[in-house]
C-alpha cells in the first residue's frame, strides 16, 4: 500500500494542538484583562446609600475617592418609600478610608465630564464602615439647579440694571437733563470764556488805572502831609501856650469849686434848719386854706352875696353835641 502523504498535513495534530493552546491562552489572557478591568479579581465589599431620584445613576458607574476610582455602582433599586437605594462595590483595600462620617455625593467630573459618585474620606478617629453599611448621602446641585439658582440670584440684579438703564434713558430724567445742561453749558462755555477774557482785560486795564490813581493819591497825600507841617508847628506852639496857662486856669476852677462847696454847705445848713419845719408849715397852710374856705363859704351864705352865687347843680355833664 502506497501511502501518499501530503507534506502540508504533516504534523497536523501538533499544529492544531499549538493553535488551540494559543487560542486558549489568548482567551484566558483576554478573560484575565477583562476581569481585571471589571474588578473581578479583587476583594470587594458592599456599601449602600439612598437618594431621592435615580436620575443620572447607572449600573457600573464609577465611585471615586479623592478623584481615584475605588469601586462601581452595583445595584439600583426603588424602595418602599419611593426613594432609590444604590449599592456600590468598593475595593476592600480602600475600606480603611471610608468611615462613618464619610459622605457620598453625586457629582459631575468637570463641566462636561461624566457623572460619578464621590465618597469623601472619613476623619481619623471615626470608625471604618463595614460590609453592607449605609453611607450618608449629601445632595449637590446639578447643572440645571445651579443654573436656576444663578438665574434667581441674577434676576433682581438684571431688573435693577434694567431700571437703571431706563432711568438713564428717560429724557425727562436727571441724567438726561444734566447731560442736556452740560451740553448747553458747554455750548455757552465759549461765549462765557470770551466774556471772562474781556472781563480780565478790563480788570487789568482798571488795575493799571487804579495803580496810577493810587500813585497820584499818594503823591497828593505826601504833599498834604508836607503842608501839614506848619499847621502842626502852630498847634505845637498853641499847646505850649495852653500848657503855660493851664495851671492858672485850674487854680481858678479849683477856687470856684471851693466857693461852690461853701455855698452848697450854707444852703444845706439853711435847708437843714428849715426842713423839719416844712410839714408844720404845710399843715398850717392847709389849716389856713380850710379856714379861708370856710370864711368864703360863710360869706357866700351871707346876704346879700348869697343871692348872687348860684347853687351848684349835681348835673355837671360834659356838653353833648349831635354832630360830634
Amino acid at each position: 500500500m502506497i501511502v501518499e502523504e501530503d507534506l502540508r498535513f504533516k504534523r497536523l495534530e501538533m499544529k492544531i494542538g499549538i493553535f488551540v493552546a494559543i487560542a486558549i491562552v489568548g482567551f484566558l489572557t483576554l478573560f484575565f484583562f477583562i476581569g481585571a478591568d471589571k474588578d473581578l479579581f479583587i476583594q470587594k465589599y458592599l456599601l449602600k446609600f439612598t437618594v431621592e431620584k435615580g436620575t443620572g445613576y447607572s449600573r457600573g458607574m464609577p465611585v471615586k475617592l479623592s478623584g481615584f476610582r475605588i469601586g462601581r455602582v452595583d445595584k439600583i433599586s426603588l424602595n418602599e418609600s419611593a426613594m432609590v437605594d444604590i449599592e456600590v462595590q468598593i475595593d476592600r483595600k480602600y475600606q480603611k478610608w471610608i468611615k462613618k462620617d464619610s459622605v457620598v455625593k453625586f457629582v459631575k467630573e468637570g463641566l462636561v465630564g461624566d457623572n460619578i459618585i464621590e465618597i469623601s474620606a472619613g476623619s481619623r478617629d471615626s470608625e471604618v464602615l463595614k460590609d453592607g453599611a449605609l453611607l450618608a448621602f449629601e445632595k449637590t446641585m446639578g447643572l440645571e439647579e445651579l443654573a436656576n439658582d444663578m438665574a434667581d440670584k441674577v434676576k433682581p440684579v438684571l431688573l435693577e440694571v434694567k431700571d437703571i438703564i431706563s432711568y438713564i434713558n428717560n429724557p425727562a430724567g436727571d441724567i438726561k437733563q444734566s447731560l442736556n445742561n452740560i451740553r448747553v453749558l458747554s455750548a455757552d462755555l465759549s461765549s462765557t470764556r470770551e466774556k471772562v477774557d474781556t472781563l480780565l482785560i478790563n480788570s487789568t486795564q482798571k488795575i493799571v488805572k487804579l495803580s496810577a490813581d493810587s500813585e497820584s493819591l499818594l503823591k497828593t497825600s505826601r504833599d498834604r502831609i508836607d503842608s501839614a507841617g506848619p499847621i502842626l508847628e502852630k498847634a505845637d506852639r498853641s499847646m505850649a501856650v495852653i500848657e503855660q496857662k493851664l495851671p492858672q486856669l485850674l487854680e481858678k476852677a479849683l477856687s470856684t469849686l471851693e466857693h461852690l462847696d461853701k455855698v452848697s454847705k450854707n444852703i444845706e445848713k439853711i435847708t437843714g434848719g428849715v426842713a423839719p419845719r416844712i410839714p408844720q408849715i404845710m399843715n398850717s397852710a392847709e389849716d389856713t386854706l380850710q379856714g379861708a374856705d370856710k370864711v368864703v363859704n360863710a360869706a357866700k351864705n351871707i346876704w346879700p352875696l348869697k343871692s348872687h352865687i348860684p347853687v351848684p347843680s349835681e348835673r355837671q355833664i360834659v356838653p353833648g353835641d349831635s354832630h360830634e
Binding site: 349835681e314 348835673r315 356838653p319
Partner: protein, 309 residues
C-alpha cells in the same frame, strides 16, 4: 343930731341889725359835703375834657363816681358814668364808652330827668359802633324823654341817624323840626347842626343849590361860634357838593380852605385827607405835577404825625 330923731333912728338901726342877722343865717343846703366833693370832681373833669386832657378828666370822673357810689347817690353815679362814656367816645373808644354808659342805665329810670341824656349817649355810642338800628331806637327814646332846651340836640341826632340809614324824607322832617326848636331856644351850635343835616339831605337828593344854601348858613353860624371842627366839616361838605356838581374849581377852593383850617386846628390827619382830595381833582384836570406835589406834601404831613406819635 337932734334928740327927736335919735329914738326913731335907734329903733330903725335895731331892726336893721335884726334883719341882717336874720339874713346872714345859714341857708339850709340840700347837698351834702360828699355830693359837693363829687360835683367839684365832675367840674374839674369837665375842664380837663374841654382842654383835651382825657386821661385827667377820667381820673376826676372816677373820683366823682367813687364818692357817689359810697353814698349811693344814683344821680351822681349816672352823671359820673355819663361823663366817663362821653370822654371815652370823644377818644374814639366805643367799647369803653359802652361799658361806662351801660353801667349808668340801671341807675337811670325813665322818669329821671337825666334819662334823656343817658339815652342820647347810648345812641351816640351805638352810632360810633356802626349799629344804626339801635342808635335810632335810643335816639327816639331820648327825644321822647326830653322836653328841655336840649330837645333840639336829641332830634338833630335822630335826624342824622335817619340820614345815615338812608331815610331822607324822615331825616329832612326831623332836621326841620330840630332847626325850629333850636332857633326858638337860641341854641346856635345845634341850629348849625340842623342846617348841616338839611344840607346833607338836599345834597343827597340832588338839590345842590338848596344844599349849598344850608351849608353856607351853617358855616356862618359856626364861624360866629368859632368852632373850628364844624367850620372844617361845613367846608368839606361844600367841597363835596361842588365836586358832585363837577365844579372842580369851587371844590378845590373849599378843600383848600378846609385844609388850612384843619392844619391850623392841629388836625393833621384831616388835613392830609384834604390834600389827597385836592391831588385827585388836579389829576383829573390833567395837572399831574401839582397833583404829585400835593401828594408829597401829604406824605410829609403823615411823616410828621408818625414822628409825633
Amino acid at each position: 343930731m337932734n334928740n327927736i330923731f335919735r329914738v326913731p333912728c335907734a329903733v330903725l338901726f335895731f331892726f336893721l341889725i335884726l334883719a341882717a342877722v336874720g339874713c346872714a343865717g345859714k341857708v339850709p343846703n340840700s347837698l351834702s359835703e360828699s355830693q359837693m366833693q363829687a360835683i367839684s370832681h365832675n367840674q374839674r373833669g369837665i375842664k380837663h375834657a374841654a382842654r383835651g386832657d382825657n386821661l385827667q378828666a377820667l381820673v376826676e370822673f372816677s373820683e366823682a363816681l367813687k364818692i357817689s357810689r359810697s353814698i349811693e347817690n344814683s344821680e351822681g353815679i349816672v352823671v359820673a358814668l355819663l361823663n366817663c362814656s362821653r370822654v371815652h367816645r370823644h377818644a374814639g373808644d366805643a367799647k369803653a364808652a359802652l361799658t361806662a354808659i351801660s353801667g349808668a342805665i340801671p341807675h337811670a329810670p325813665r322818669q329821671m330827668p337825666l334819662y334823656a341824656e343817658v339815652a342820647f349817649e347810648v345812641a351816640q355810642v351805638k352810632l360810633l359802633s356802626g349799629n344804626l338800628n339801635e342808635a335810632s331806637e335810643w335816639a327816639s327814646q331820648a327825644v321822647a324823654a326830653d322836653n328841655s332846651s336840649t330837645r333840639g340836640m336829641m332830634i338833630n341826632l335822630l335826624a342824622r341817624i335817619l340820614f345815615l340809614k338812608g331815610n331822607m324824607a324822615e331825616a329832612e322832617l326831623k332836621a326841620q323840626e330840630a332847626l325850629l326848636i333850636n332857633r326858638n331856644n337860641g341854641v346856635r351850635a345845634e341850629e348849625a347842626n340842623s342846617l348841616r343835616t338839611l344840607g346833607d339831605v338836599k345834597a343827597k337828593t340832588n338839590r345842590g343849590v338848596e344844599a349849598a344854601a344850608y351849608y353856607n348858613q351853617a358855616l356862618e353860624i359856626d364861624k360866629v361860634l368859632g368852632k373850628s371842627g364844624k367850620i372844617v366839616a361845613d367846608l368839606r361838605a361844600l367841597a363835596r357838593l361842588a365836586e358832585s356838581l363837577n365844579d372842580s374849581g369851587q371844590a378845590l377852593e373849599f378843600y383848600s380852605r378846609a385844609f388850612a383850617a384843619s392844619r391850623a386846628n392841629g388836625d393833621l390827619s384831616g388835613a392830609s385827607e384834604d390834600l389827597t382830595k385836592m391831588s385827585l381833582i388836579h389829576e383829573k384836570r390833567g395837572d399831574i405835577e401839582l397833583s404829585q406835589r400835593l401828594l408829597t406834601e401829604r406824605a410829609n404831613i403823615l411823616k410828621n404825625i408818625q414822628t409825633q406819635q
